[in-house]
C-alpha cells in the first residue's frame, strides 16, 4: 500500500520547517531507519528517518522549500510493484486533536476547586477523659511506638535514630523495643535515604523518615516533591506514597542562618503532600499517629524549642486527630489570631495580655497547613471582622499571605481592617542574640498588630 510521508514535528514547539535537503530520490529503496531528509526546525537541523521499508515513489516537496507546515505530505512511499499514483487524492493533513477538537469549557473545571469542607468544631476527645501532662518529645515518641506496635510495616530511619536514641531524643527507647530491623541508623545521605524511603513506601511499607532537622532536607527535597508528592497523580491513581517525613523545623536558638529556616510555606504549596505543624503535645501525638496511617506523603514539621514543653495529653488507647481540622484555643470577639506551630505561643501570650486590656482575641491553631481548615478561620473572621496571622517563617510568599488572600476572597465584605501578618523578618537568621530576637516575630509585634486592626 502506498503511504504518504508527512512533514514531521521534530520538537514540541515546531509548527513548520524548511525541507533543507533530500537524501533519497524517486525510485530509491529505503529501509526503516534510513535517513531520508534533513529538516530545519525552529531549534536545529535534524535528520528525518524512514519508519518503514519501501521505495520512494514520489517526492512532493522540493528541497529548499521553506515554511512547510507540519503534517503536509512531502513524499510517497510505495511497495514493490506499486506506483505513486495509487494514492488517490492527497489526504487532508492529519492534525493533533487539540487543534481541531473544541473541548467544552475546560476553564470551568479548572477553576472549580473541590468543595471545601464545613466547619467541624467537635472536640478532639470525649469530655472527662483523663489528661496526663506530657512533653511534645514524649508525645511524639509515644505516637511512633504505638503505631509501630500496631503495624509491622511501619519502620523508622534516619541519622542517629537508633543507637544514639535520636539527635533530639525523639526515638528514646525505640531501638530497644523494636530492634534494628525496624529502627535504622542511616549514613549522612539525606538525598539517598529520602529516595530509598519513598521506594520502600511503594513496596508496601510505611516509612517514617526522620531528618535531623528540616534544614538538611533541602538535599532531599527532590524526592519529597518529585518522587513522593507527584507519583499518585502521574500514575493515574495507581501508586501513592504512604510515608512520613519528620523532624524539627524553624529556628532553634542561636544556630544561625543555615540551621534556622521554617519550611511551612514551601511544602504547603505542593499538591500531593499533607503538611502538619503541631503546637501542643496532644496535637503532636494525635496528628503523628494520623500521619503514619495516612496513605499519602506527610511532611511533619516539629519544633526543637517546643520539644521540652509539657501539655495535657488525653489518656486514650488510640488517640488520633484528623487532618484539616483547626483548633480554637480561645474564643473571642474583637479579632481573630491565626497561627500554628511555635507561632501559637506568641499568639496565646498576646491574647492573654490583650484580654487584660479589654480586647477579646479568638485564637485559632491551624495544626495542619495542607489540608488547610479555612472554614474555621472564615467563620471566625465573619464574627470578629479582623484578623492577624502569626508565624516564624519569612514574610514573602508565606502561609500568612495565602491565608490573607483566602480571607479576602471569602470574607472581604466582613473585614473592618486589613489582614496583618506577624512573621519572621526578611533576612537570613543572624547569630547574635539581640539580632536573632529581632529577626523573629514577638508577642509585642502581635499586640501591636492587633491594636492597629482594632484601632485601639
Amino acid at each position: 500500500m502506498a503511504t504518504e510521508i508527512l512533514m514531521p514535528a521534530l520538537s514540541p514547539t515546531m509548527e513548520e520547517g524548511t525541507l533543507a535537503k533530500w537524501l533519497v530520490k524517486e525510485g530509491d529503496s529505503v529501509s526503516a531507519g534510513d535517513i531520508m531528509a534533513e529538516i530545519e526546525t525552529d531549534k536545529a537541523t535534524m535528520e528525518f528517518e524512514a519508519v518503514d521499508d519501501g521505495i520512494v515513489g514520489r517526492i512532493l516537496v522540493a528541497e529548499g522549500t521553506e515554511a512547510v507546515k507540519v503534517n503536509t505530505p512531502i513524499a510517497v512511499i510505495v511497495e514493490e510493484g506499486e506506483s505513486a499514483n495509487d494514492i488517490a487524492a492527497p489526504a487532508a493533513p492529519v492534525s493533533a486533536p487539540e487543534s481541531d477538537e473544541t473541548t467544552p469549557a475546560p476553564e470551568v473545571a479548572a477553576n472549580a476547586r473541590p468543595a471545601q469542607p464545613a466547619v467541624d468544631r467537635s472536640p478532639d476527645y470525649p469530655e472527662g477523659t483523663e489528661l496526663v501532662s506530657t512533653t511534645v518529645r514524649d508525645a511524639l515518641r509515644d505516637a511512633i511506638a504505638e503505631e509501630m506496635r500496631a503495624d509491622d510495616t511501619v519502620f523508622i530511619m534516619g541519622e542517629e535514630v537508633a543507637e544514639y536514641q535520636g539527635a533530639y531524643k525523639i526515638t528514646q527507647g525505640i531501638l530497644e523495643e523494636f530492634g534494628a530491623r525496624r529502627v535504622i541508623d542511616t549514613p549522612i545521605t539525606e538525598h539517598g535515604f529520602a529516595g530509598l524511603g519513598v521506594g520502600a513506601s511503594w513496596g508496601g511499607l510505611k516509612p517514617i523518615v526522620e531528618f535531623m532537622t528540616w534544614n538538611f532536607a533541602m538535599q532531599a527535597i527532590d524526592h519529597i516533591i518529585n518522587s513522593a508528592a507527584k507519583t499518585l497523580y502521574m500514575s493515574g491513581g495507581q501508586m501513592g506514597s504512604p510515608i512520613v517525613f519528620r523532624g524539627p523545623n524553624g529556628a532553634a536558638a542561636r544556630v544561625a542562618a543555615q540551621h534556622s529556616q521554617d519550611y511551612a510555606a514551601w511544602y504547603a504549596s505542593v499538591p500531593g503532600l499533607k503538611v502538619v505543624q503541631p503546637f501542643s503535645a496532644a496535637d503532636a501525638k494525635g496528628l503523628l499517629k494520623t500521619a503514619i496511617r495516612d496513605p499519602n506523603p506527610v511532611v511533619f514539621l516539629e519544633n526543637e524549642i517546643l520539644y521540652g514543653r509539657a501539655f495535657d495529653v488525653p489518656k486514650l488507647d488510640d488517640f488520633t486527630i484528623p487532618f484539616g481540622k483547626a483548633r480554637v484555643w480561645r474564643e473571642g470577639s474583637d479579632v481573630t489570631l491565626v497561627s500554628w506551630g511555635i507561632g501559637m505561643s506568641h499568639a496565646l501570650e498576646a491574647a492573654d495580655e490583650l484580654a487584660r486590656n479589654g480586647i477579646s482575641a479568638e485564637v485559632i491553631d491551624l495544626r495542619t497547613l495542607r489540608p488547610l481548615d479555612m472554614a474555621t478561620v472564615i467563620e471566625s473572621v465573619k464574627k470578629t471582622n479582623r484578623c492577624v496571622t502569626v508565624e516564624e517563617a519569612w514574610p514573602v510568599a508565606s502561609m500568612s499571605d495565602h491565608i490573607g488572600s483566602e480571607i479576602m476572597r471569602e470574607a472581604f465584605d466582613y473585614l473592618d481592617a486589613p489582614v496583618l501578618k506577624c512573621a519572621g523578618k526578611d533576612v537570613p537568621m543572624p547569630y547574635a542574640a539581640n539580632l536573632e530576637r529581632l529577626a523573629l516575630t514577638s508577642v509585642k509585634e502581635v499586640i501591636d498588630a492587633v491594636r492597629a486592626v482594632t484601632y485601639r
Binding site: E49, V70, A109, G192, L196, S227, L232, Q238
Partner: protein
C-alpha cells in the same frame, strides 16, 4: 543487514530465541511507531526512544521471576513492553489519552503498573536509583526472595545520589541490581567528555559491590550476566552492578540535532552489532525459517498498529480528571 557477530559459546534453544526476537522486535516497531505519531503531532513534549537498546531489557526480563520489581528512567517504553504491560495502554499514555496507563496524566516519562511491578518512568536523572533501592528494601524487610532491577544511564551514573545508594545498598545487603545502560551518550555528552573513569561498574568496588561489563547488543550475554546478578541478590549477598554496553540509534529525544556524533558511527553499529539481527542470525542457524520469522513480524506489526489506533481513538481525559489522584482518602 549482516549483524552476525559470533558471540562466544552462548547458545539458547530455538523456542527461547524466538521469544527474544519477538520481544525485541515489539519494542523496536513500537518505538518506530511512536516516532511516527510524534511526527504527526499526536505525541507531545519529550519522547525518548529505546531503539538500539532492546537486548538490555529483554535479556534481563528473561531472568526475572514473579514479584521482581523494575524501575527505570524516562526512556521507559521498552521496559514496559518487556515486563508485559499492554502496548495499547503505553501508546495511549504517549498520546495523553484516558486509555493510557496513567489516564494521560503522566505521559511518556511517567508511567507505572503496580500490577506488573513496574515502578516508573522517572524524569529526574538519577532519582530512580535510591527509589529502586527502596523497593529492594521492602522485599528484604518482608523476607521475600525478590530483586529489583534498577535501570539508569551513563549520564545518571555521575549523579551523587547513585553513590549514596550504593553505600546503603551494600551496607544493608539490599537485593537490587543496578543496571547501567551505557549507551555512550548523555544527551550530546559522550561518556569520555563526562568522566575520566574508564568504566562505571568498577566504581562499585569502592563500596564492595561486585559487578561486570556486559555486551548489551547480545541478548544472550545480557541474559547470562543477569543470571549471575540475580543469583547473587537472591542469595542475600546484596547488590550487583551490570554495566551494559549498548547504543541508541535515534536522538536523545525527538528534538536532537545529532551534531555530537557521526552518521557513520551510528550506521556502523546498526550494521555490525544490531541485537535483533544477531538473534535473527542465531534463529536461522537454529533452523527457523524465513516464513516463521515473517509471521512474527506480521504479528508485531498488527499489535503496534492496533496500539496506534487505540491511542488515537481513546478520548482525552475528562476535564474533571484535573482534580483527581492528587491525594488518596485515608
Amino acid at each position: 543487514m549482516a549483524a552476525r557477530r559470533a558471540s562466544r559459546n552462548l547458545v539458547a534453544p530455538k523456542k527461547e530465541l524466538l521469544k527474544y526476537y519477538r520481544d525485541m522486535l515489539l519494542i523496536r516497531r513500537f518505538e518506530e511507531k511512536a516516532g511516527q505519531l510524534y511526527g504527526m503531532g499526536l505525541i507531545g513534549g519529550f519522547c525518548h526512544l529505546y531503539i538500539g537498546q532492546e537486548a538490555v531489557v529483554v535479556g534481563l526480563e528473561s531472568v526475572a521471576m514473579e514479584g521482581d520489581k523494575r524501575i527505570t528512567t524516562y526512556r521507559d517504553h521498552g521496559h514496559m513492553l518487556a515486563c508485559g504491560m499492554d502496548a495499547n495502554g503505553v501508546m495511549a499514555e504517549l498520546t495523553g489519552r484516558i486509555g493510557g496507563y496513567s489516564k494521560g496524566k503522566g505521559g511518556s516519562m511517567h508511567m507505572f503498573s503496580k500490577e506488573r511491578d513496574f515502578y516508573g518512568g522517572h524524569g529526574i536523572v538519577g532519582a530512580n536509583v535510591p527509589l529502586g533501592a527502596g523497593l529492594a528494601f521492602s522485599d528484604m524487610y518482608k523476607g521475600n526472595k525478590n530483586v529489583t532491577f534498577t535501570y539508569f544511564g551513563d549520564g545518571a551514573a555521575n549523579q551523587g545520589q547513585v553513590y549514596e545508594t550504593y553505600n546503603m545498598a551494600e551496607l544493608w545487603k539490599l537485593p537490587v541490581i543496578f543496571v547501567i545502560e551505557n549507551n555512550q551518550y548523555a544527551m550530546g555528552t559522550s561518556v569520555r567528555r563526562a568522566t575520566k573513569s574508564s568504566s562505571f561498574w568498577e566504581r562499585g568496588t569502592a563500596f564492595s559491590i561486585p559487578g561486570e561489563q556486559v555486551d548489551g547488543m547480545d541478548v544472550l550475554a545480557v541474559r547470562a550476566a543477569g543470571q549471575k546478578a540475580v543469583k547473587h541478590c537472591r542469595a542475600g549477598k546484596g547488590p550487583y552492578i551490570l554495566e551494559i554496553m549498548t547504543y541508541r540509534y535515534r536522538g536523545h529525544s525527538m528534538s536532537d540535532p545529532a551534531k555530537y556524533r557521526t552518521r557513520d558511527e551510528v550506521q556502523k553499529i546498526r550494521e555490525e552489532r544490531d541485537a535483533i539481527e544477531q538473534v535473527r542470525g542465531r534463529l536461522l542457524d537454529a533452523g527457523a525459517t524465513e516464513a516463521e520469522l515473517k509471521a512474527i513480524d506480521k504479528e508485531i506489526k498488527d499489535i503496534v498498529n492496533a496500539s496506534a489506533e487505540f491511542a488515537k481513538e481513546s478520548p482525552e481525559p475528562d476535564p474533571s480528571e484535573l482534580w483527581t489522584d492528587i491525594t488518596v482518602d485515608a
